[in-house]
């Protein structure tokens, strides 16, 4: 917009340009509406007040777009977040199935020799199986996230949403409980020999997927809920 007229009007034009830049792109028509209305204001004082109000309206809209947490913010950032949250769990799941100690390699002889006959190893077998089951939430979460990002379809099933949040958390709790059962409080402390492996595992395979799933549900809810003017 060209700056012509008095100093006050030039200032108002500057404010309006800021307001237009602040408005989310989806509100472009409203930016045009505010600009058009400005041209009909003869009084400079009113023009400045109008432009300042438009800046406030733009800031409100920008904040509202951020608070409702929808894909208008940046789907690339959301995409990276989902990869960070669900890829480690997916890799862990593949390892628990097909890795060197994956359950696909288990047979009755191995189970008897290493888990049933060896006392105290049943819990390790239970953890391997639960990791193979709960780890499947990694690829499921990735599919759900990309369905939301690419097709804009949020999760329809509330129970699947609950499982995506609760499953990884359950896995984290089971991991800590099994460690505690085997080695006491020293085994889960930060001074333990493999404390880094344990807690990075809990972070990557339990906390991040659960938080990512919760964020995905929140975004899905934001897309389906209608905002009511009050």
């Amino acid at each position: 917009m060209k700056q012509t007229g008095t100093l006050a009007r030039q200032f108002a034009v500057r404010l309006l340009n800021i307001a237009v830049r602040l408005l989310p792109r989806s509100r472009f028509e409203w930016a045009r509406a505010m600009l058009a209305e400005f041209h009909y204001l003869e009084n400079d004082h009113r023009a400045v007040l109008w432009a300042a109000g438009c800046c406030i309206a733009s800031i409100k809209e920008r904040a509202s777009a951020m608070l409702t947490g929808n894909l208008k913010i940046s789907r690339w950032v959301f995409c990276l977040e989902m990869i960070l949250c669900f890829v480690p769990l997916s890799v862990g799941w593949l390892d628990s199935l097909f890795g060197s100690s994956g359950i696909i390699r288990l047979n009755s002889e191995i189970i008897h020799r290493y888990f049933i006959d060896a006392s105290g190893s049943e819990i390790v077998l239970a953890m391997m199986i639960s990791a193979a089951i709960l780890g499947a939430l990694g690829p499921i979460g990735l599919v759900a996230a990309f369905r939301l990002i690419v097709l804009g379809r949020p999760l329809q099933s509330p129970w699947l949403g609950s499982v995506l949040v609760g499953g990884p958390l359950l896995y984290g709790v089971l991991t800590l409980v099994s460690r505690f059962a085997n080695g006491g409080s020293a085994a889960i402390g930060f001074n333990a020999v493999d404390a880094f492996d344990l807690w990075s595992g809990v972070l990557l395979l339990s906390l991040l997927p659960a938080l990512g799933a919760a964020h995905m549900l929140l975004i899905g809810f934001g897309r389906s809920a209608a905002a009511v003017p009050t």
Binding site: A33, W50, I56
Partner: protein, 104 residues
């Protein structure tokens, strides 16, 4: 599920202004003068109403040369029903409040 919250005085003022002559198209500055709402309050309200399908908007060519087209607004039929319902509820609440005040 939509949230049911108490209508703000600004939304009530805007709905009242739009309901006065529901068939007439109004522009932003006209509504601002009528409701005493600043543009910072008026436009977010207009956007919300439009998002919910309660407000029609159109561009009207300028009458004077050198001026840009103006964005005009009026309530949709759904918007008229919504405004009537909400303003009636507000009036009932206000009457109840006054009655309670008198009794107290």
């Amino acid at each position: 599920m939509t949230r049911q919250r108490k209508l703000s005085s600004q939304t009530a003022a805007l709905l009242t202004a739009l309901l006065e002559q529901p068939k007439v198209w109004r522009h932003g500055y006209d509504l601002s003068l009528d409701t005493q709402l600043k543009s910072g309050t008026l436009y977010p309200l207009l956007m919300r109403l439009s998002d919910r399908g309660l407000l029609h908007s159109k561009w009207e060519p300028a009458e004077a040369p050198g001026r840009p087209p103006r964005h005009m607004y009026r309530l949709t039929s759904q918007g008229v029903a919504y405004a009537n319902e909400q303003l009636a509820a507000l009036a009932r609440q206000s009457r109840r409040g006054k009655t309670a005040g008198v009794r107290a």
